[in-house]
Amino acid sequence: MKSVGNFLLSVWLILEGLSGVIMPTDEGKINFFFAIPRFSLLKGVFPYLGLLAGAIILVQTINDIKNNRPMFLVALWAIAICVAELVGLLNTPFVYAVHLLGMGAGYFLLKEWQQAQKVSQVVGEK
């Protein structure tokens, strides 16, 4: 059960990423590589997938936020961005706040990685 949230988050990121490069936008402007029109039918499912992933990770991390702060913020970001997409709040100030939240999560993820590097260096020197 614990891995489900992270797995769904990974799948959601991959699908969103793919959708951005292989699907036309709503305006039909960006066809970065090539367009697969039928794939766009799936796009409606993506926010629900992200929402589910975010909710599961949130439940997993909420009891130990101090230890899981980056993933807790990632969960909040995923939920917020998906809600924004579902209720049509994209291109509003709310989304800027969500992006700031995402950047905060990104900062903590980088900090966690830096900390892990530092520890592995110290252990290596031992």
């Binding site: 949230g5 990974s10 990121l13 793919l18 490069v21 970001w77 520890v119």
Partner: protein, 153 residues
């Protein structure tokens, strides 16, 4: 083997989130395809991290570790031997944060429960050391020798 598998998924996820935030806030639409690619790469790396190493059996445990905080090496703290570390881990104390929040009296009880050999160890300095370790302030910590014992100057 591309070398990409050595890049931590969470690192790429962090870069993606910051990149996506900047691109979206500054409305740099021409960079959006790269944002999508970064997101997809982060997702792939996170999934890859859950996969077992080549030759290893696929275990549910490996999948569980995706995006999860790993236990800290408690033996980095002066006075904590591998045996003590095992006893602490058994009591769900696996990270510097948790150890930093645990009272010395509780640690005493855990050690006493773990066996007579550990019962006489003084854990009073461990929470403070753990808090320093959690903050990465390794220079301020008491040095440890090979056995994990505190080094006396």
């Amino acid at each position: 083997m591309t070398g990409l598998e050595r890049v931590p998924g969470k690192l790429v996820l962090g870069i993606y989130l910051i990149f996506a935030g900047i691109v979206s806030i500054l409305n740099l639409a021409f960079l959006m395809p790269f944002v999508y690619i970064a997101g997809a790469v982060a997702g792939m790396l996170l999934i890859q991290e859950a996969a077992p190493a080549p030759g290893a059996a696929a275990t549910p445990e490996a999948v569980k570790n995706i995006g999860k905080v790993r236990p800290d090496d408690l033996t980095r703290i002066a006075g904590i031997t591998p045996e003590v570390s095992n006893a602490l881990n058994a009591a769900k104390i696996k990270t510097y944060v948790t150890l930093g929040k645990t009272k010395p009296e509780t640690l005493k009880k855990i050690l006493a429960k773990a066996g007579a050999e550990l019962a006489n160890i003084d854990p009073s300095g461990w929470p403070r050391q753990a808090r320093l370790a959690d903050k990465g302030r390794w220079d301020e910590m008491e040095p440890v020798d090979e056995s994990g014992q505190e080094t006396k100057a």
